[in-house]
Every structure is written in C-alpha cells, then in structure tokens.
C-alpha cells in the first residue's frame, strides 16, 4: 500500500514515482494502474531504462533521490508497506488452492519461501526518518557510498543491457523470434537480473487466462519449445527462494 504511505508523507515535501517495467507497455500495465488509481506519477518503462540508469535487477525495488537530485540510496529491495489491518500477514500464511496446475502450486510454494523480512517495516520506518530529518537521517548515504552500493557493472553486463534493449525493441516491433535471440544473450551476459529473465519468460504466454504471463516456464505438452535456458521455477529452486530478495541493510 504505497499510496497510503505517500498520502502520509506528501505534505512533507515527499513524492512517490512508480515505474512499471514491461515491454508490453500500456497493454501489460494498464489494468494494474487503473486498479490502483494513482495520485502520483505512474510511468511505463518498456525498455527497462530503470536497469540502465539505476541498476534495477529485481522488483519491487526503489531508489531515494533528495531535493537536489542526488541519489541518497541506490536501487534496493523495497517491500510494499503492509495493507492496513493485515500487519504481519506474510506470504507464508497464504493458502495454496488445490485446484490449480501443479507448476503454479509449486511456484506459489516457492514464492511463499521468499523472505517477507521482519525488516519490512524497518524499510518504511527508514523512509519516514529520511522524510523527517533529510540529510541528517542515518539512512542517507554519501555519494561515494551510494555509488559503491549500486549494482556491480562491467563491460560484459553493459553489453547485456544493450542486447536487452534490442530484444525489447524487436518484441515491440512484433519480431518475437529475433527478440528471443537477444533476450537469451542478455540473460547470458547479465545472469543476476531477475527482471531481464522474468520479462522474457512472461512473453511466452501460457494460454490466454489471467495467469498466462505468470506461468514463466515450459508448456508441459511441448517442453522442447521453451526457448530459454532457465525458467522461474527452475531458477528459484537453484538460487534458493530465501536469496530472491535482499533484506534491508541500513
């Protein structure tokens, strides 16, 4: 419930900007944005400029920028504030329905293992502290520290970003096969980006239902047709759900 937090802080010189990372653009994001009815700038990022500019490799993640346009916290995991009345309700309390395909059941089981840190509230308390105290907040980083805390990037990963941009552009032009080729290259060169992977997997839709983009893996009836090395379930099992999201480090 970011909007509730935004509402609380907006009169203290704070603004929230949400950015939906999706090559499908309005088509992919609109239903979610309409449902949220945002009062803040709500943007759509088809090429994942957030990855190039800020080093975003997973969602949800956030960046703090101060009044002078300085980054005081680089991209880091940013849990959504708890819904009012649901404090403490984490993924692990979720009931997995029994009448869904086995793959989705397994995915939900893995997703429930992703830590919903006790530090979840710590992140939002830190945000309140910054909005209140500004540069005196203990959570503000020096420029040197903000740079050092941003994601590692070398020539190889930078090239991976270029291939990802080719892929998103080719996908937008309707050239799905060529897009796959460059998504594959991006995955190979930037193996730690979940967003680069999930974006590509989500474009291999499974049926037309509301879960079509969440399947993110081979069709059991034709697994050979899956174009990617990994898939959501395989990768999260390999990397460990507990490592999916980094906790909050002040």
């Amino acid at each position: 419930m970011w909007q509730t937090l935004r509402e609380e802080l907006k009169d203290k010189g704070f603004e929230l900007v949400t950015v939906g990372l999706d090559t499908l653009g309005v088509e992919g994001c609109k239903a979610f944005i309409d449902a949220a009815n945002p009062q803040h700038p709500s943007l759509i990022d088809q090429h994942h400029a957030m990855a190039d500019l800020f080093g975003v490799v997973n969602i949800p993640s956030s960046i703090w920028i101060d009044e002078d346009g300085m980054i005081v916290r680089p991209a880091e995991a940013a849990p959504a504030p708890p819904k009012p009345g649901l404090e403490g309700a984490g993924g692990s309390n979720m009931q997995v329905p029994s009448d869904i395909p086995d793959r989705l059941k397994q995915m939900m089981t893995e997703a429930a293992k992703i830590p919903k840190p006790g530090s979840q509230t710590a992140y939002h308390e830190a945000l309140r502290d910054w909005v209140e105290k500004g540069a005196d907040s203990e959570f503000v980083m020096s420029p040197e520290k903000a740079i050092e805390r941003s994601r590692p990037r070398d020539e190889t990963t930078a090239l991976g970003h270029a291939h990802f941009e080719l892929a998103t552009e080719l996908e937008m032009r309707g050239n799905h096969d060529l897009a796959i080729k460059h998504f594959q290259k991006a995955h190979e060169l930037v193996p730690d980006s979940w967003t680069f992977r999930r974006q590509a997997w989500s474009l291999e839709k499974m049926g037309d239902g509301p879960l079509a983009r969440f399947w993110q893996g081979p069709n059991p009836e034709n697994p050979e047709a899956w174009p990617y090395e990994g898939d959501w379930l395989e990768d999260i099992k390999r990397e460990g759900a507990e490592n999916y999201s980094e906790g909050f480090t002040p």
Binding site: F32, P41, L43, P60, W130, E148, A162, L170, R173
Partner: protein
Amino acid sequence: MLLSTLEISKAEFEAGTGWQLKPEGACKGDVCIPIPNADGDTVDVSAAAKAMNLPLAEEPEAQLWAMGPESIGGRALMTAKAPELSLPDVDGKMFNLSSLKGKKVLVYAWAPY
C-alpha cells in the same frame, strides 16, 4: 539507446546517453572522455562508443543497434547525481523525473508479471 543509423545528431546522442558533448569530449559528472570530432554537428557512434568503452550490440536483420550504458568505475552508478528519467504515463504523456527537484522522491520499480 536504440539506433537505426550510426551517424546521429549531437542532441540525439546527448539525450540517448546522458553524456554532454563539449569541445573536450563527452562529459558526465566529473568525467570527460575525448571523442573524435567532439565539437561537430553529428556523432560517429562507433567511434564514440569505442572511445568511451560503451557496448554496441547489433541486429543486422532489422538494421538496428543498441548502445548500452557505461561501466566506468565498475558500478551501475558512476555518479550519485540522479540521471534524467523520461518516461510516459498510461496516457502517453511524458514525465521527467527532474520536474520533482525540490522534493524528496522515492522511485519504485514494479512489474505486472
């Protein structure tokens, strides 16, 4: 940044890369890198990319190139000065992050998949 030709205007280069072109070269933050013909009207993208160590990926079948971000310093951020972020909203209206100067801003990345 996406390119359909490797000879582009100075303005396109600046908007696409976030680097400013000055007589001494391409500049961002405290860093200036000499590039060939830096004070010309157009930029030879291959030469600039080589000089600045920016990656250039190509898709010959679509006559399309993408120039990736810099990796100077080995980090996603080479300066803590926030880059300009220009993106459309759901109605296609462009928004510039720099328009929020004077406020504290939290930029939140999410995805519908």
